[in-house]
């Protein structure tokens, strides 16, 4: 049924070791890799000499699959790619198809899309804080962050029908209109978030153990962040102002007031702080929009069968992890000829070796944790 695959052993991959060096494998089954990432780490004592990530343990051939799905269908598979930013993934694909069709999206749909994207971003960052605190040995923040996350999941479920893989964005708008209780529930979530986030900050931000383990650990300079192609909070913590929502505004972000959260330290703690501040900015964006959702259509009129003209189309969005690019090559038919995703996690992971080299192995969990890796997004 499945082809024979042998587990790669370090001696095949590595240069002959020098005296005193040691190779350890982290993963593919390891609680701190958040999935099935496999790191082959060369150590000298406790100091990391080299990290070699091995990918493909969750390569599901999504790009190849998409070539046999229609322009309406392929969007749904991308919910499973970066499942913590499912809405934003769907949005990127829907926008790319709309670009090909030269379709105008109604205002109401645009606003709904932004609110959903920002709620997703908060949920993703909440989960990340809980998971990373768990990597560093603190279990309690996990319960605090999941309390807020569950509230968002309930809101999503009410409108989209699913908690995690929402599949809400379609070419031309969104699939359904908002649930009648949506606005009230989002407002109560905003109140809840503002009153409870300080608990989290008390627990984590000012925690002396957390600070000792993250400040100055895994430093990535601005020049390196650019040359490795890092995006999202990882790049912004190093001072790269590459937020796609600001640089290449889409879906109406240009009309909104929000800050691009930058930090200059580039260490693990800066990446944490950037994400915390981003959650506040997302709340700020939601507050601007929630009382001003325009009336009207939630979906533009489209034909039942979508055909894109011959050509190449590229869109980019800012997911919770960074820049997601969708590149469609169309031959004029109902299915894409080729689809390529530029996923943020892949390039962020490529900087890991550079960031962790020379540090102690105990610091690796803080460095890797703050990269916020979602392995199905990297492997696709």
């Amino acid at each position: 049924m499945y082809s024979e695959t042998t587990i790669v052993t370090p001696d095949v991959l590595q240069q002959p070791l020098q005296e005193g060096q040691l190779v350890i494998n982290v993963g593919p089954q390891h609680p701190a890799t958040h999935g099935v990432l496999h790191l082959v780490i060369t150590l000298e004592g406790e100091t990391i000499i080299k990290i070699e990530p091995h990918l493909g343990y969750i390569h599901r051939s999504i790009e190849k699959m998409s070539e046999s799905l229609t322009y309406r269908q392929f969007i749904y598979v991308t919910s499973r790619m970066d499942y913590l930013s499912a809405h934003i993934n769907n949005l990127a694909c829907a926008m790319c198809v709309e670009k090909g069709m030269q379709l105008e999206v109604p205002d109401r749909a645009q606003v709904i899309r932004i609110i959903m994207s920002e709620l997703t971003r908060i949920a993703s960052h909440e989960l990340w804080i809980g998971a990373m605190a768990m990597d560093l040995g603190a279990f309690t923040p996990f319960f605090y962050t999941f309390r807020e996350r569950e509230t968002i999941n309930d809101i999503m479920e009410q409108t989209c029908g699913a908690r995690l893989t929402m599949n809400y964005m379609v070419p031309g708008g969104v699939m359904y209109d908002l649930h009648p209780e949506f606005v009230a529930r989002v407002k109560s979530f905003v109140v809840q978030f503002k009153s409870k986030v300080s608990e989290l900050e008390d627990l984590v931000t000012d925690n002396i153990i957390f600070r000792n383990r993250t400040v100055g650990v895994g430093v990535l300079s601005k020049a390196d962040a650019i040359s490795y192609g890092c995006t999202g909070p990882v790049a912004r913590a190093s001072g790269v102002d590459g937020d796609i929502r600001k640089r290449f505004p889409y879906s109406g972000y240009e009309k909104l007031q929000f800050e691009q959260c930058l930090d200059s330290a580039g260490d693990s703690f800066a990446r944490y702080i950037v994400r915390i501040r981003e959650m506040y900015q997302s709340i700020h964006i939601i507050e601007q929009l929630i009382d001003a959702i325009p009336e009207g259509e939630f979906q533009a009129k489209t034909k039942a069968v979508i055909k894109l003209p011959k050509g190449e189309f590229y869109t980019r969005v800012e997911t919770a992890r960074g820049e997601l690019g969708v590149y469609i090559v169309s031959e004029g038919g109902t299915t894409p000829y080729r689809i390529k995703y530029r996923s943020p996690g892949f390039s962020n992971l490529s900087a890991l070796n550079h960031m962790a080299k020379g540090s102690k192995i105990g610091d690796l969990m803080a460095t890797m944790g703050t990269l916020d890796l979602v392995i199905p997004d990297i492997d696709r």
Partner: protein
């Protein structure tokens, strides 16, 4: 799916008869029933997740759903200390030997739950893929299947309770297989 209610009936209470005596009582039970009763209430899951279903598994561990109410509290990172492996997510060709090795490393008795459409049959990745294993039961035997993409936390809780019922019912998967291959038993 039908649950074996005859199995669950004797699990609501302690498996055995209680004889009241002045100043106390005596419990009679078979040793095997007692072991199974204890075993079913202390299943340690392996923290194994390949994709989206793992997030719902984390939700199930969080305070709102809280699977520690049913004895699944102690999630272990090593297969050598785990009783049940919840296959949360897609299994691809490169992961298949790893999953097999993890299963082999677990100590008997061991149980497997296939969580989500991918672990059951490949799910959304059934057609037109070259790398996805079409169901985890091609690699290791599965006790309980949970449909959904991803399943709700309640569905995972239901699966865990179903597994408990199965264990309390008396026979492990190996015993069932032994019986079916050896009619003399």
């Amino acid at each position: 799916m039908e649950i074996n209610h005859s199995a669950s009936q004797n699990t609501e209470v302690f498996p055995g008869a209680v004889m009241d005596l002045p100043g106390g009582g005596v419990v009679t039970s078979s040793f095997q029933d007692l072991i199974n009763w204890a075993r079913s209430n202390s299943l340690w899951p392996l923290t194994f997740a390949t994709s989206c279903c793992g997030i719902e598994m984390m939700s199930t561990a969080s305070a709102k759903y809280d699977f520690s109410r049913f004895g699944f509290e102690v999630a272990r990172a090593t297969p050598r200390q785990a009783d049940v492996i919840i296959i949360a997510g897609t299994i691809v060709n490169k992961m298949a030997p790893v999953l097999k090795r993890l299963y082999d490393q677990m100590a008997d008795p061991k149980y497997v739950i296939a969580m989500g459409a991918c672990a059951i049959s490949g799910g959304p990745f059934f057609y037109n893929t070259y790398s996805v294993v079409k169901g985890a039961d091609h690699i290791i035997p599965v006790d309980v299947y949970i449909p959904g993409c991803p399943p709700r936390p309640e569905a995972l809780l239901h699966a865990l309770i179903t597994l408990q019922d199965k264990i309390k019912g008396g026979l492990t998967r190996e015993q069932i297989r032994e019986q079916s291959t050896n009619p003399s038993l």
